[in-house]
Symmetry: C2
Subunit: 226 residues, 2 copies
């Protein structure tokens, strides 16, 4: 049985602007075009953020709807994953687009520090986002910024807050959260294999750590993020 490599392309993100990188796609039309290139190059999951015209992050369901429509037309069969991350909105606004029923959505199950602030995912918001994903049949990608987030995802799966074994993404290299440490990476893999045997997982290295994380991930049987 083959286990094909899943490549997840993160278009846009919530931070880079055209001033930093003129190639970053901002409008929905630019995002669809950029994703189509990645799709034709072999990417299978599109992890998507949306932006306002002034390039600030947005959680506007209308923008997500337009993006989904464009991706379904130009990238048929691609797995669409919406970000519910906290840079794009506050509280339940982060999940207002889940009723659009994307295939997947990111889900943070704990809180941690970011470079200059707290990334706040209070327990009641986590539970609400997870419940919306159950309601709309969306598979969560659990963003593990720290070790306890993996164990919390397993607990939520055990009590039904997450359906099916969680798909975990290790996020490493965010300042003041978990650094890109190979020992810790190996322990993350060991923990997923111990608690979620057979479940696929992936890893994302932030900034300069992206290449290293993809290399570690592919070597250890995980999926890649570009």
């Amino acid at each position: 049985m083959t286990n094909p490599l899943i490549i997840c392309c993160a278009i846009t993100g919530s931070l880079p602007t055209k001033a930093i990188n003129p190639a970053v796609p901002i409008s929905v039309a630019e995002q669809v075009e950029s994703t189509q290139e990645a799709f034709e190059a072999g990417a299978t999951i599109c992890h998507a953020h949306v932006r306002n015209a002034d390039e600030t992050p947005s959680a506007d369901p209308d923008k997500f709807a337009a993006l989904k429509e464009g991706l379904e037309k130009h990238c048929p069969g691609m797995i669409i994953q919406f970000s519910t991350g906290g840079r794009s909105g506050a509280g339940q606004a982060r999940g207002a687009m889940l009723s659009l029923r994307p295939d997947m959505a990111s889900l943070s199950v704990g809180s941690n520090n970011f470079p200059t602030r707290v990334y706040e995912n209070p327990p009641d918001l986590v539970d609400w986002l997870a419940a919306e994903m159950v309601t709309y049949g969306i598979k969560p990608e659990v963003e593990a910024f720290d070790l306890s987030h993996i164990l919390q995802a397993v607990k939520m799966h055990g009590d039904g807050r997450i359906k099916e074994p969680p798909y975990v993404q290790f996020v490493m290299g965010v300042k003041n959260a978990m650094p890109a440490d190979k020992h810790v990476f190996d322990y993350y893999v060991e923990t997923v294999n111990r608690l979620l045997p057979g479940a696929p997982w992936c890893a994302a290295g932030i900034g300069a750590n992206q290449a290293a994380l993809n290399e570690w991930s592919i070597a250890a049987g995980g999926h890649a993020r570009t």
Copy 2:
């Protein structure tokens, strides 16, 4: 060379009330009396919170000063550790008592979830508390509610924000943070031994997990918390 067991007694904490446990010491006089019993029974560190008359948590420096005076008189030589935890106050109020120069103070270096809310330790507050501890010659006890907190403490030691190798306490069994998982405990010990070779460490199990954590800790060469 012997390595005597350090027993840290946490008097009062920030949550239990006399309605829950009539024996919990609330007033400074009750705290001193209770600590003296623990000291005479062999405890070497007193981890201290203070309370208001209505039993709510407090960060009032006057109360900490009275407690320190009482402990110095009745428990001579005992190591006094003040809590700078977030249940007692907000922002820099959490560290207003550090100018009293206790021997040690607790220091959270990251954020995480608690049972019903986010335990917020924003990076600038962490740095301010650490700097106050450097100013007043206070040894921090790093409260590791998650794995990245150990690595963050090591990083802060590396760049001088923490003097001397950090003394880390693993905190396990807080709902929505790290559960009391023996595999994770073993990896915590491995991580401290890898990154802080020779440094002492301790562990605290919350509620029903206290006995297990003390057993694991003593067996693995760590210190105990009662």
